[in-house]
Symmetry: C2
Subunit: 319 residues, 2 copies
């Protein structure tokens, strides 16, 4: 099967919102008046972001999910994406499964594949996603104010826990491993919550490199610090296994595990009710974990209010 047949068979679908979709030199798309575009690009490399043994359905899902998570972090509504795919060979079973996972998630968010590229080479998946936001309502990292509350969506740590189990560093009961693995391989981007927090959250980021690292980006961009209650953070632990693994590993998973694709955000105490409402309306758990401070830097406190300094850092591809 050649390149054009491959595109025709697996990637071409009738355009919906796009004026011109897959198959011309460019995709053509008319943005809504009065809206700003939010754009993000993420690249997934075999052996770095996923194991060669991963189910291609999950890989298709995750490739788009990590991009949708960036839109969620800006409060944007997904609209369209472009996929550039480098494949070692044409494997029809693989392509069929990969596109199933990809399009199921795309359809769930009405996010249309409008273009891209396919070529031969080491397996590499590069997606650029576009969303829109009513003008001036985008939620950035840089607008957190002093004395804002700091919140986290959902649960943290599962993805890292699954990774530790894959590495053989920890042994987990099958049911726990299966739940943790699902969160690692099929993250659920918080798109609805992101949009519900427009006009509520002052700053927001998605947690891809770990809570401490990604909250750190907000604090640095906003020129504030934060005081985080780790006993709140411990309530963020997702699976019962985290209660049974060594305390330092549990902290590492929750505070700097990464690959969680939850949202960390700030909002003034006056908006606490609106945060709760956004959580309820979107069926998303939201936990308050601390408060921003005029004093720069991030302080983690235990249940007795004492500052702790675990060896935590965020994920860095070249560190």
């Amino acid at each position: 099967m050649g390149e054009f047949d491959l595109i025709e068979r697996y990637f071409k679908r009738p355009p919906r919102q796009a004026n011109v979709g897959v198959g011309d030199d460019c995709a053509v798309w008319t943005p809504r008046e009065g809206h700003q575009l939010a754009l993000s690009a993420d690249m997934l490399v075999e052996g770095r972001h996923f194991l060669s043994t991963v189910d291609p359905v999950h890989l298709g899902h995750k490739s788009l999910a990590v991009n949708l998570s960036d839109l969620a972090a800006c409060g944007a509504t997904p609209q369209a994406f472009l996929l550039s795919l480098s494949l070692p060979r044409v494997d029809e079973d693989w392509l069929s499964s990969f596109t199933q996972g990809l399009f199921d998630l795309a359809d769930a968010h009405a996010c249309e594949l409008i273009g891209g590229d396919t070529t031969q080479g080491p397996l590499n998946i590069a997606i650029t996603v576009m969303g829109d936001v009513p003008h001036g309502q985008v939620i950035l990292r840089r607008n957190a104010q002093v004395d804002d509350d700091v919140y986290v969506s959902g649960f943290l740590g599962d993805a890292r826990l699954a990774l530790e189990a894959f590495r053989g560093a920890i042994s987990l009961p099958e049911s726990v491993f299966s739940t943790a693995r699902q969160r690692l391989e099929c993250p659920d981007p918080r798109v609805a919550l992101g949009q519900a927090l427009r006009g509520v959250a002052t700053a927001m980021a998605d947690i891809s490199d770990g809570l401490v690292g990604d909250l750190g980006h907000i604090l640095q961009s906003s020129h504030v610090g934060a005081d985080i209650d780790v006993s709140c953070a411990s309530r963020l632990m997702a699976t019962s296994a985290l209660w049974h693994c060594p305390e330092d590993l549990a902290f590492t998973c929750v505070l700097s595990g990464g690959d969680d694709y939850e949202l960390v955000f700030t909002a003034p105490p006056s908006k606490a009710r609106s945060v709760q409402l956004a959580a309820e309306v979107t069926g998303t758990r939201v936990t308050r974990i601390g408060r921003t401070t005029a004093q720069r830097g991030l302080i983690l406190r235990d249940a007795h209010g004492l500052a702790i300094t675990p060896a935590l850092c965020s994920f860095d591809h070249f560190a």
Copy 2:
């Protein structure tokens, strides 16, 4: 050097048109009212699209050039791009040269880097480019009419000639090789000509896979055929070397060489003067090579009007 330092040092520049550029979860960009967006993505893989010995300045140029060429083919004005880059290691000299080539071309077209991703892995460069076109003026492949003239910009065949020389299949004088290599490694996307042909060309494509293949896409999408005079095509030969290489290789280079990044387009005979004007205004050579026909299929004729059928096909990454 870590991932964030790398982005800070080599890729972060103050936003210009973008509301938010590199460094948040998403780039934010406000499209102009009454304009449509044209979007394209191209991925370059080492060993497939470029040799490991290529000058990184040229590689940075070409990575963006092939994307700008897609915008040119739609008559779009470049606005912004996102870059996803997978690197085996952090090589500061390489990054410095690569970004020089990239940003020199980007600046020449006022096309702003607004976001992207960096990761570790086999060298892979994935760019998504965005341009805009006044509403309804985009030039697609599918609107060629019967009895339109068929035109090609610039010269064809140099890139393939350089490739044949690299492969050792042909020996070229140093000055000829150097010119041909420049065209292979530093193609000049026909952005100004593409825009000048708005309202003039009925259909257009850029020549990345070879004239016959890319004209074939126009014919297929437009449900027409074409009758091409190969003696016109021979005037498309770029370097004097093409006159000295075997005739079948010369034909292959010009008609199906690929990597030319010229434009092939159709326009009604009534617009012949406008085509000439667009060529003059943008300082681009344009050659009429034939005419579209109601009869489907592509016929190539020699100087005596006899149909010839050289073994030509367009480039296919998985063929």
